[in-house]
Every structure is written in structure tokens, then in C-alpha cells.
Symmetry: C2
Subunit: 432 residues, 2 copies
């Protein structure tokens, strides 16, 4: 299709949703993408631009003619403009800001004064407000008279004369009430404002927990500065989950399928090198038992069993703890109970696995003693795994660090070292 | 607080949001929970009940007096009732259904005929509809006259006389338009219906991708049967992410912080036993090289370095592939490119790590040869890890299986076996 025929391409993509066009652009190889943009750039609008993944957005923007870009930006809601330009360098940022109307520009600039990943960056400045003493009829007449309204809005926010939000009315209530009813009499019970300084992850969590659809954002003086809608909160929730998922697997959350091999390799190398170091610690542990191993070489074949099963158990316990911390289900109130639960569960599984290993040792290897050593080491390592899996993320989160980021490395280092040490230590004591 | 004083408790919890009360109930230990429910059960309403996590909801329901339960259920929207009773046994289900009004009961029963985890189970049957030829004024008068309206609704769905949805109008547009404007002239461009048979994960994905707020659900004859709102889609997205996260760490997605130690141990044991088996395969590989190990015991200490670094690389590659499959960013269209990217990135990192190992071998161990063997084995294992990490999930998803579920075990088994085999094989060839 994109071998030269611009008009056909335009016609074909006419009925396609902006999000799908953005997906198409992401999936092309860089040279094909350039060809595509040459043919299609005139049609790229604000909607498509805000759907394109950050990893390739810079590349796309560079290839767009300046008029197309400014035209696209002028159509966008203020939150999408902020999202687009917050990672740009100052001169580019200025070029785009210059293309906006004065009021839009002021809104975007105000948003940019809030910290990165805060509610202030996520909100849109376009809010529909009304004083509480208005009647439903007055409000509807006001909305009909207003030339400019946001694309999507779900509530009318009631504000006092100093722009402090005092409540909100759903559009459904507004439509279903008689014209003479006062707005202040049909506000929702559950009214929550969000501070512009709040972390966007906490905002997404609150939306999901309290089933919010939109929430007013206030500045440090409790004055209304914008509104966050659930679709933005949903995107943040999605991103936060993705970040946790990738971080647990020790991948940078900036990695993307469209990255090239060099970028991919560079993103992953640091954790591999760190693992090289922690694995060397295990090697050091093992090397202390060289004389034991020399006497009974079969131990070398068996020792990874204890270490790797401990690693799995540690990861299990860790994953549950990291999720529970993220969803605020693990708090200081129940931490002690969860730790005891893990300890006991680790002990139970350790004993279960030890029974299997002892039997297997006796039957397959013909040595009850080796089976017993394997089993005892397994119990010790399962307990260490269970404890490490819950204590390490709790500790990191107490220190204000992200428990998903480094826990995995800590925990598997612990289970590897403990696995080799317990097994070889017991073996050199009992068997040799 | 819950040492006996019911009225004080009621007063204290009066201003608290239902979701927070549910959290409180979840965090109590089972005996404390019983005490709490004895004091507070009269106040448990539909909202609190639908917020309580499934893992303890049965326990809570059993302790509620029948009248409280039926009263609570009668207040709930049909989708929440479905969510509550779908996992119950037939007699309990009947008891709750009997408490509902006839029309509600019929709606719930219709929902239950759709497959589990489908859009049909997620939707609520309460939809606000209007014929397209109505004017804005007629619609507002209709809404004002209607006694019963859903708690939350964001669109009026236009239907033809056979209840086929033909478009929808946002409440914002409805409020901002003059009374004589026809509904069919202010419908949204992007109109999507969802089949009741569609998987709820796909529904959540569509909501997030296309920024939907609510979407009409249709049956096999394209007739409107309900509506799904974004807050439900957001919960599903959250759950699906949680499931993937826990599955990658080999934890049942039904595990919960409030589980007891026995339950926890039982949920985790199966994967530990599977790992025992796969680790035994590695032990088998190692045992083939017993004579090599006997001659050069230091190899036993070094071999886990290659295996574990391969495991990390495999997990990295796997996590990226699993996420990309879940977000439909990895498709048959770009699979070949992603596989080549992984291959090349694995090769690059393998060479990088090999250089470090060769140097370390020469300097720390004083043996360039051992360093070279470590390095060569590392390159081989990094390539296997990169390939396994992308091919295994692609293969599983081609077979219609969940790539998050078993990939980890496959991939780490591959990298362990390859790590030991390449290192010991090369060592017995070069060194001994």
C-alpha cells in the first residue's frame, strides 16, 4: 500500500480510529515509517499524535512539517499537550507553546510547573464549573450558551466565589432533575478532591478503588485548577502495572517492541552485570567447599536443586508482597501477620519438598543420607526464601524505594547463597 | 474499638467510604472479623458487599443475617449481583435470586447465561435508550419523567425499533444542545458495540485503547442487551494485570494477603514440585560431567554463573514478549523482526558478558582458558535465553494458551540446562 499512492492511503485510513493508525505507525520498521509519514503526514492530527507511544513519538514529530505539528497541537486538550511536550528540550517546547492560543498556552505552562508524574501534569485545565446556588435550568442554559466545552465531561463542579470546589453534580442527575432544582441539592455524596501534587499512581489507585469517573484537582490553597478523568487514570494504572511487571523481570520500563537490538541490549545489560556479581558471590560460597565436592562429586550435580527451588519460592513470596504493597493491602497493620503467614507457609512447603527429596534420594540415588541432607537444606532455604520474599520488599518500601525494582536480585542472591551453603555445609558435616 | 460497642462503631464508620470499610473487613483476622460482623452486620449494604474481595466474600456472606443480605442485594446494580452470585452454589444462588424484583431477577438470569469472563457477565442491564428521531427536549423530558435511572450513566444509546443500537449521544452534548436538535444529529463519530460473548480482557483492552467511557453490549442478533461502563473495565484491566504479574512469578492468581498459611502453602507447592523435576533434569546434565568435575573442582563453583545469568536474560526477554502479546504490540506482522532483534541483542550482551568473564578469569582465577570457556558458554546461553524468551510465549499463544502461565518454567529450564551443558561440555573439551 505505501509504495507511493498517497490519496489511496488517505481514503483507506479515513474510517480507521486514531489509536489504530498510531498502532500501525508503531509497527512499521523505521525506514517504512519514514515512507509512510512522507505520504501521510498531512493527515496526522492531534488525536493520532497523542496515541503514539512515547518511544517513537520524537522520531515521528521530527518528520512532521511544522504547520502540521502546530495544527495538531492546537486541537489537543491541555493534558495531551503537556504529555507531548514534557519530555522535549526547551527550544522545541517553546516552538510548540508559541503555536497555542494564549489561554491554552497559560494552561499548559501552569501544568508544567507541577512535578513530573503528579496529578497536576495529568489533569486537563478545561473544567465545567457552576456556583452552587444556580438552578438546573440556569446551568443548562449556561451550557447551551457556552461556545467552548471540553470534548468529554461527566460532572459539573460546584465552586464557591474563591474557586474552592464544594461538590459535584453528575450530568445524569442534571438531566433527570426539574429546571427549578438547585445544584447544591443534587450533589453526589462521595466528593473527593485531588491535590495537584499527588503522585499519578496514587490518583489511579483512588479512581479504581472509589469508582471515580472524574475528580477535581486543587492547588496548595485548595483552589480548583483542573480535572482528571477516568480514561487518563486508566492509562496510568495500565502503565504502572506494566512498569511493575517489567521491573520484576529486571527490564527497564522504557523498553518497547519497536526498540532496535542495540537499544535492547543496552537496556538489559546492567542487570545482567549485576547478576554476574551476585552469582560470583555464590561461586565464592561453593568454592569454600571444594574439598567436600572433590570427595563426593555427585553433590555438584545436586546442589542447584536446592538453590533453584528456593529461588522460585522467593519469587512467589516476593510477587505477592509487591502486589499487596502496590494495592495497599499490605500495611503496617497486618505486616506482622503476613510475615508469620509466609514463615509458616515456607516451613510447610519446605517439609513437603524435603519428604519428596528424601524419598527420591533413597530410591534414585540409593542414599537416604544424601536425601536427608537435600531435604534439610531445602527446609532451611524455603524459610529463607519466604522471609526474604516478604521482608526485602517491606524494607525497601519503608526506605521509600520501589519494592519492584531491586527485590528480585536481593532475594535470589539470598536463596542461591543459602541454598549452596546449607546443602554443602550439611553435606560436609554429615557425609564426608 | 470493636470490643463490644456497636452504636459507637456505627457512628465512627458512618462517614467512611464503602471501599474503605471493605478494606477494613479484609484486614482483620478471621476471629476479629466475626466479632466485627456481629456488631456491624446490620449496616452492611450492597455497596460494601460488592467491594469486598472475592477471597473472603463467602465467609462474610455466611455470617450475614438473611434479611440484611437480601436487602443489600436488592440495592445493587445487576452487574454487581452477577459478580456476587456467579461463584455461589445453586441453592444459595436461588435464595438470593428469589429476593430480587421480577425484572431484576430476569436481568441477572439473562446475564448468567453468558459464558464466564465474558462481556455479558460484566455488563449491567440497565441502559438508557432513546429512538434517534427524538429531539433533545423530548429526551430531557423523558429522563425527568423516568422514575428509575441507573446510578451512573454517561451516554444515551440510540436504538431502532428492533433494539439494534445505532449510535450514542454523550450527556455533555445533550446538555449543550438546543431543545429542538435531533439526537441522531449529535451522535459521536466513534461508535463501537461489544459482543456479549467477547472476553472481558479484550473489553478492558478496547476501553483503554479507544478511551471509551461506556459501550453498548449486543447479543448474537446485534440487539442491545446491556452496557459496560469504564469503571468496570478498569477493574478488569487491574485484575488481568495482577493475574499476569502473579502468574509470571508462578503464583496462583487467587492468592490474597488475607489467605492463611495452609492455603498459601498449597497454592504455591505445585510449581515448586514442578521446579524440583526440572532442576533434576539439570542435575542429570551435570552428572554426565562427573569425571570432568572430579578433575577440576573449581568448575562446580563457576557453573552456576553461566546458568543464572542466562536465567535473568531469559526472564527479561520473556517479560517483554509477554507484555507485548498482552497489549497486541507483538503480532504475526512483526514477530520475525522481534525475534531477530532478540537474537541480535542476546548475541551482543553475550559478547559483552564474555569479555568481562574472560578478563575476570585471567585476573582473578589466573586462568585465561577458564575465562574463555566461561565466556563462550555465556554467549551460547545468552542466545538460547533470548530465543527461548520470545519463542516460548509466541508458541504458547499460538496454541491458545496463556503465555504468562508456563513460559517462565520452560525458559529457565532451557537456560539452566544449556548453561550447565555448554560450560561443562566446553570445559571437558578444552580444559581436561
Amino acid at each position: 500500500i505505501d509504495d507511493g499512492d498517497g490519496p489511496t492511503l488517505d481514503a483507506l485510513l479515513e474510517p480507521v480510529h486514531a489509536a489504530d493508525i498510531a498502532d500501525l505507525i508503531e509497527q512499521l520498521t523505521p525506514p517504512r515509517r519514514r515512507e509512510f509519514l512522507n505520504l501521510y503526514s498531512g493527515e496526522i492530527d492531534g488525536e493520532i499524535l497523542s496515541e503514539i507511544d512515547e518511544s517513537i513519538r520524537d522520531e515521528v514529530i521530527e518528520q512532521l512539517p511544522h504547520e502540521v505539528l502546530t495544527e495538531a497541537v492546537r486541537e489537543m486538550d491541555s493534558d495531551d499537550v503537556v504529555d507531548l511536550i514534557e519530555d522535549m528540550e526547551a527550544p522545541e517546547q517553546q516552538a510548540i507553546l508559541a503555536a497555542l492560543d494564549e489561554s491554552d498556552r497559560a494552561a499548559v505552562e501552569r501544568s508544567l510547573t507541577w512535578p513530573e508524574y503528579s496529578a497536576g501534569r495529568l489533569m486537563q485545565s478545561e473544567v465545567v464549573t457552576a456556583p452552587g446556588h444556580w438552578s438546573v435550568g440556569e446551568t443548562i442554559d449556561f451550557l447551551r450558551g457556552e461556545e467552548w466545552l471540553p470534548d468529554q465531561f461527566y460532572h459539573v463542579v460546584l465552586v464557591d466565589p474563591r474557586r474552592h470546589p464544594t461538590g459535584y453534580v453528575t450530568l445524569g442527575k442534571l438531566l433527570a432533575s426539574r429546571r427549578d432544582v438547585l445544584l447544591r441539592d443534587i450533589t453526589e455524596d462521595s466528593f473527593r478532591t485531588i491535590s495537584a501534587r499527588q503522585d499519578e499512581g496514587d490518583v489511579a489507585y483512588a479512581f479504581n478503588k472509589y469508582h471515580l469517573i472524574s475528580a477535581p484537582v486543587v492547588d496548595d490553597d485548595d483552589r480548583l485548577v483542573g480535572v482528571i478523568t477516568i480514561d487518563d487514570a486508566m492509562s496510568v494504572l495500565d502503565e504502572e502495572h506494566e512498569e511493575d511487571f517489567l521491573r520484576m523481570a529486571r527490564v527497564s520500563d522504557e523498553s518497547h517492541v519497536s526498540d532496535g537490538p542495540f537499544q535492547t541490549a543496552r537496556q538489559r545489560l546492567p542487570w545482567l552485570v549485576i547478576n554476574l556479581c551476585t552469582a560470583s558471590l555464590s561461586a565464592l560460597v561453593i568454592s569454600r567447599f571444594e574439598s567436600t565436592l572433590a570427595q563426593l562429586v555427585i553433590l555438584a550435580a545436586l546442589m542447584p536443586i536446592v538453590a533453584s527451588t528456593g529461588g522460585i519460592a522467593g519469587t512467589q513470596s516476593l510477587a505477592v508482597a509487591v502486589r499487596a504493597l502496590a494495592t495497599r493491602e499490605l500495611t503496617s497493620a497486618n505486616a506482622r501477620r503476613v510475615i508469620l503467614r509466609e514463615l509458616f507457609a515456607g516451613l510447610l512447603n519446605g517439609v513437603g519438598l524435603a519428604l519428596i527429596l528424601t524419598l527420591a534420594g533413597a530410591i534414585i540415588l540409593g542414599s537416604l543420607q544424601i536425601g536427608l541432607v537435600l531435604g534439610m537444606a531445602m527446609i532451611a532455604n524455603q524459610v529463607v526464601a519466604a522471609m526474604g520474599g516478604v521482608l526485602v520488599p517491606l524494607g525497601l518500601s519503608k526506605l521509600g524505594l520501589d519494592p519492584a525494582l531491586a527485590s528480585g536480585t536481593f532475594v535470589t542472591t539470598m536463596t542461591d547463597m543459602m541454598g549452596f551453603f546449607a546443602f554443602l555445609g550439611l553435606a560436609s558435616w554429615v557425609l564426608v
